[in-house]
């Protein structure tokens, strides 16, 4: 089942738009009437103090949570409730705050798992393996090796990911998301828990992904330096409400944003 995919969006046009979206869990309102858009080819940061609803926002875009109000338009098509694998088929991939890798599998297998969308050989070919299934496997292995080269994780291909240090795990997770060849890549705090060197590496990877593959990126990040350097535009959330939206320079000097981060009651 594939999500309906609209006409290809040109660079600079709106790829995804969030309109008046609200989400509650029981009595807690996680997101209130939030609207913003993401243009194709840009790097869009979503920032805000803890508990602002940023991860919930990503989960909504992913199809994991269903908002009570509002709608999402992706590649020109507006969706009602979408299941997560429909979002995946539609071209949305993401990484997670707490690395969501498959711990029982190697790094290579994790990234190959990211190719599942694209592998079509049926059950009986898989039973036989030799023939069409193996050819498909080799073809996708080739693409995955490109990603492994790109992320410089050749040595750890065969290591079970549970044994990898945190920074490498995050890289493998990025690789798995890239393997899906997404139109929109959602990164949830990709720099969390990293030292300066790892952050520089990750920043470069993100920029390269945007340049080299042309992938549109939306990222949640706390490190302001990273946000200002990497992103084209920034949207700021606080307590589930959008309080600012613009270029990094504009947002940095916005009073509402400063107040939110300093904890000034408003």
């Amino acid at each position: 089942m594939r999500a309906p995919s609209g006409p290809d969006v040109a660079v600079g046009e709106v790829l995804l738009s969030v309109e008046n979206v609200s989400l509650s869990f029981g009595g807690v309102k996680a997101v209130s009437d939030v609207s913003f858009d993401i243009r194709k080819g840009e790097i869009r940061a979503i920032i805000g103090p803890n508990g602002a609803g940023k991860t919930s926002m990503l989960n909504i875009i992913n199809g994991f949570y269903h908002p009570q109000q509002g709608r999402i338009t992706f590649k020109g098509m507006t969706r009602a409730k979408m299941r997560p694998y429909e979002a995946a088929y539609g071209g949305i991939a993401r990484t997670f705050q707490n690395v969501a890798l498959f711990r029982g599998m190697t790094a290579l297998d994790n990234i190959m798992a990211g190719r599942s969308l694209k592998m079509h050989r049926g059950f009986f070919w898989q039973l036989l393996r030799h023939g069409p299934a193996l050819e498909e496997e080799v073809e996708h292995r080739r693409r995955v090796e490109e990603i492994i080269d790109f992320l410089k994780i050749q040595e750890i291909r065969r290591t079970p990911v549970g044994r990898l240090p945190y920074g490498l795990q995050k890289r493998v997770e990025l690789g798995r998301a890239l393997a899906m060849e997404p139109d929109l890549l959602l990164l949830d705090e990709p720099m969390a828990g990293m030292n300066l060197e790892e952050k520089e590496d990750m920043s470069r990877f993100i920029l390269d992904v945007n340049d080299h593959y042309g992938t549109t990126i939306a990222l949640i990040e706390h490190d302001m330096g990273v946000v200002m350097d990497l992103s084209d535009r920034v949207v700021v959330l606080d307590h589930g409400v959008r309080i600012a939206d613009g270029t990094p320079a504009q947002v940095k000097s916005d009073q509402a944003v400063i107040d939110a981060y300093l904890g000034v009651a408003h």
Binding site: F25, T55, N59, F64, F96, Q97, N98, A100
Partner: protein
């Protein structure tokens, strides 16, 4: 057409035409339900405090009953045998905590669950080895439990209630109330609730997990002993009880894993549902649907409420 009538109409006609029989079936179901609930209670105790799903609870019931009867057969007076059996259950709890729980303390729940499979087999093997495999008669009269029955004239006929069943219901209620008070009012009870909420937090305020686990498995062992006595009094003590005890699983599905009232209500629903199903719909299928009917009841509930009647809806967060 006839089949539809037999399934959807006839059983109710039967119920109406012989209401005393219906009441009898209800009573039988209630009694069975109370006993299932007691087994489920043992599960809930252990799960609440150690997060372990104790598949061996059923065999603990059998093992406790066997120990009691076995001691008596070797010449130990009844009440002394009872006290000694309680002691055996304490030793068992200590052994389980040291040899099984402690080494597996940080493993995922599924590993601990599988460890209780191993425990089940060990208890089955040693139970049979020490006490022999023949069914035994429970020494209910020696324990001053009543026998005989009340014949109550009602609903145009008679309903017979075994005195032992009434005793079982009373003792079960007393245990539930007692455990409830224990959890709410005593220091150990509070510690148990703390551990159930969070192992780490409990550790940080100085509660010894090992001690709590011994307490809880011992309590479950005592509940198992009481269940074994009650059940053994109604039908003999044998290893067939083990399989019957597995019926506690559907009870837990209905009642939730951490709710004591849930175990009771779930037990009653399963017990009554099963008996009525067997009696009125059973002949349609051939006998013995009691083997699996409880599971079907639980499954149907699960399909509508995946978290059971009392369980909490788990919101998965990434």
């Amino acid at each position: 057409m006839h089949m539809l009538y037999m399934i959807f109409v006839d059983p109710f006609v039967q119920m109406g035409s012989a209401p005393d029989l219906f009441a009898q079936t209800l009573w039988e179901g209630l009694v069975a339900g109370v006993l299932y609930a007691l087994i489920a209670l043992g599960f809930v105790l252990i799960f609440k405090a150690s997060g372990v799903f104790n598949f061996a609870q059923g065999i603990m019931v059998v093992f406790a009953a066997l120990t009691l009867v076995g001691l008596y057969e070797h010449g130990v007076p009844a009440f002394l045998a009872l006290a000694l059996t309680v002691g055996v259950m304490l030793l068992l709890a200590i052994a389980i905590e040291r040899l099984v729980l402690r080494p597996l303390v940080n493993q995922p729940e599924i590993i601990l669950f599988m460890a209780t499979f191993g425990l089940t087999y060990i208890l089955i093997g040693s139970g049979e080895l020490i006490f022999g495999g023949d069914p035994k008669v429970m020494i209910s009269d020696k324990l001053l439990l009543p026998s005989g029955a009340y014949q109550i004239k009602m609903l145009g006929g008679f309903v017979q209630m075994q005195k032992i069943d009434i005793a079982a219901a009373i003792i079960a209620s007393a245990m539930v109330v007692g455990l409830g008070i224990f959890f709410q009012k005593t220091r150990i009870g509070r510690a148990l609730r703390a551990v159930a909420d969070s192992h780490r937090a409990a550790l940080s305020v100085g509660i010894s997990l090992e001690y709590i686990w011994v307490v809880v498995w011992f309590a479950a062992g005592v509940v198992a002993l009481a269940t074994g006595i009650m059940w053994g009094a109604r039908s003999n003590v044998s290893f067939a009880l083990e399989i019957i005890a597995l019926k506690a699983l559907p009870v837990l599905i209905l009642g939730g894993f951490t709710s004591i009232p849930g175990a009771i209500i779930g037990g009653v629903i399963i017990g009554v549902g099963e008996k009525i199903g067997e009696f009125y719909w059973g002949p349609l299928f051939g006998s013995g649907i009691e083997d699996w009917f409880a599971y079907v009841i639980a499954l149907i509930f699960l399909l509508f409420r995946p978290q059971g009647l009392f369980g909490e809806r788990i919101i998965e967060r990434i």
